[in-house]
Symmetry: none
Subunit: 415 residues, 2 copies
């Protein structure tokens, strides 16, 4: 549960919720709810009561600082039906931290030494706000600072250790199978019978950015056992989805392509139009790309396509700048220009306006290599950003398939 009006105003993103959930999943704690409330005593109290009545453990972040809108301490005391006391040893710790930092201390900082009576204190290393642990009926409540680094320190140093002994032997493991060139509904159709028989492991499908992720999650008494439950299912999912799968280790497509290029000792160059350089940017986001990536000719204007890449006037006047022919000539031009083993070209209409006679979303990708000249056309859904991303996925997937000796797919021809 997060406390902080800045979260409700949308001024910051609740990254704590994600981080804490991920850590809890790793030690086998089921997270039932996230809640966020503002710096308002009544609502914090109500949200705490709601959480306490539904869970065995409640973790609250935020509202432990020295300012007047930091009221989580009081809310916890109220819900637990206990009073507040000032702890002299905390007061001393806070004073000492200011002295050590060479900063003057406003007296208001000492409110951080006020804690609900009988609460266990988690001493801060980084910040000045102590964390709290309170037992309320059968539920354990932790109140931690909202500053991510301070929260993480207490989670890792104290809370996770305590909970993993409470949680007993249950552990969760997850695996992700990522695939391209196949719609989410088809992925589900091909695989979801594997998960109907039992609630463990579970499956979730996530489509976006020109790919589909299949996430498998298993629960068992140890991490190793949970992983063992997943392994045969991952294998079966991969078997059914075939060469659409590009990774089972959650690597990005550009990372996979990079590894394949390095392993094969081949070099790659690109020619880009609608992606404007984003294809090269993705390829070079992988450290060490310099070993196999030579460069990209981003030719946005027709003249640059003609003069730098050698796209013919005949193609420009005929099928146009968004066509299989143009993509092929761009790829061939880039291969020549950079002296590369493989060249990948992307052209298309990113939108929102039609471009060179092509409707927004129309994409052509071309791969040129020794003995290979392949083009693929597609219509991507979505806005400018998504169309570009789709084009990159389609293009990188051509390179992956070529290097893995998988069949190169034919897309439906755009109108």
């Amino acid at each position: 549960m997060g406390v902080g009006t800045e979260l409700l105003l949308g001024q910051i993103t609740n990254t704590n919720a994600r981080w804490i959930s991920e850590r809890l999943a790793e030690i086998g704690v089921d997270v039932l709810y996230h809640q966020v409330v503002g710096d308002n005593q009544e609502r914090i109290v109500e949200a705490l009561r709601h959480a306490l009545s539904h869970a065995d453990v409640v973790i609250v972040t935020g509202g432990l600082g020295p300012t007047q809108d930091d009221i989580t301490r009081q809310a916890v005391a109220r819900v637990a039906g206990i009073g507040m006391v000032r702890r002299p040893e905390l007061e001393e710790m806070i004073r000492a931290k200011f002295v050590r930092a060479g900063r003057d201390m406003a007296e208001s900082n000492l409110v951080q030494a006020d804690v609900p009576e009988g609460a266990r204190v988690i001493l801060p290393d980084r910040g000045t706000a102590p964390g709290l642990a309170v037992e309320i009926e059968a539920t354990r409540l932790y109140a931690l600072p909202g500053v991510p680094a301070e929260m993480r320190e207490m989670m890792e140093g104290t809370v996770l250790q305590e909970l993993s002994s409470l949680a007993g032997p249950a552990s969760i493991a997850s695996r992700i199978v990522r695939c391209v060139g196949i719609p989410e509904s088809r992925v589900a159709e091909l695989t979801d019978d594997l998960f109907l028989a039992s609630a463990n492991p579970t499956v979730a499908y996530l489509a976006g950015g020109g790919e589909v992720k299949v996430r498998l999650t298993a629960k068992a008494s140890s991490r190793g056992d949970a992983e063992a439950l997943l392994e045969p299912l991952v294998e079966e999912v991969v078997r059914r989805l075939g060469d659409h799968v590009f990774t089972t280790t959650d690597e990005e497509l550009e990372g996979i392509v990079g590894r394949l290029l390095r392993d094969s000792g081949k070099t790659l160059a690109c020619a880009e139009s609608l992606t404007g350089g984003e294809l090269g940017a993705r390829i070079t986001s992988v450290p060490g790309a310099t070993d196999y990536f030579l460069g990209s000719a981003v030719c946005y204007s027709a003249r640059a396509k003609r003069e730098i890449l050698g796209v013919t006037q005949e193609t420009i006047d005929g099928p146009g700048l968004v066509s299989a022919e143009c993509a092929r000539e761009m790829a061939a031009g880039a291969r020549r220009l950079f002296g590369a083993d493989l060249a990948l070209a992307l052209t298309g209409a990113a939108g929102p306006q039609p471009h060179a006679g092509a409707e927004p979303g129309q994409i052509w990708a071309a791969l040129e290599a020794e003995g290979v000249s392949h083009q693929r056309g597609l219509r991507s859904p979505g806005d400018r950003e998504l169309v570009r991303r789709w084009a990159e996925q389609v293009g990188l997937d051509l390179v992956r398939r070529h290097l893995q000796d998988a069949p190169l797919p034919d897309g439906p021809r755009p109108a």
Copy 2:
């Protein structure tokens, strides 16, 4: 309220909650709670009931897709005590979207045409999942897709407009002043006395991605009044920060540069090394960039720099690939190659390893134009991604300053 087990497992961050909250704050809607629940019918229903009993408006995101873990539609119907019906016009819309995209449709997609009886439907532009609006007693419930782009489209097209007419007279307005080439502490020093006297408007400083944002927020009985409170303060902040300010309308630097190029009738070409195409990608993320952007020569290898851009062997052997000389020759080469009025080149060591004798973080940017040959060197903090971003900011700012006739800054020379 977000629905999705992947949120509770910490696999994705709840960016929707932040975005929605920010938009609601802008139209004066107080957000009381965020909740997140997993893909579990009982818990979704309970969370919906909790939300409905506490708020006038409930916005749910996620769980509207075609797969078996998408169960928000059913949960809404259950809470509203109504049945589900298949709407033929939605079925038709979904089929038509697949046909238009040239993709086969699995029958499972048609569950997206099942909606609670009497619900108002928000038709999707991008995706295939319709949004829903249902009145439950005195509360209005919106159910929107979890995919951010699809959710945003419906919020902006429908929900915000409907709510801003419902919301009372308290409004919040925000303005952002964005600047480059000046550290956060200096920005605060120059401006924070303006905000000490009163709690309205408030100020927040945010540094990141090679720039500093100053966010001013005011509250008043109407949006117009809140904006009137901000206007003189924005002017004063801009006066004090001078030509470091590149926008007061929250436009990206590449958008500002694009407008300046269009207004001046000039064309731009780039030469990139460490940014790998990201500079071109940013410039072309602005619709209509084709009017002024010719292209970018992404020359990752030394050979490509020499052969395509004409960087001399003397420079490569002498000052090296990360130097003022190399940046200058790259920019001159790109200007020649593309026949552009202006050319911008970026070279540097993105890290994590040193590159061509330069330490990670070392950047050189060069601008070439009629009568102008300017280079700027800097050391950027941070990882690969941040170093690239810094280089782009420094480079784009050179173009902005040149087109605005502002002085071109000299950076400290890297070691």
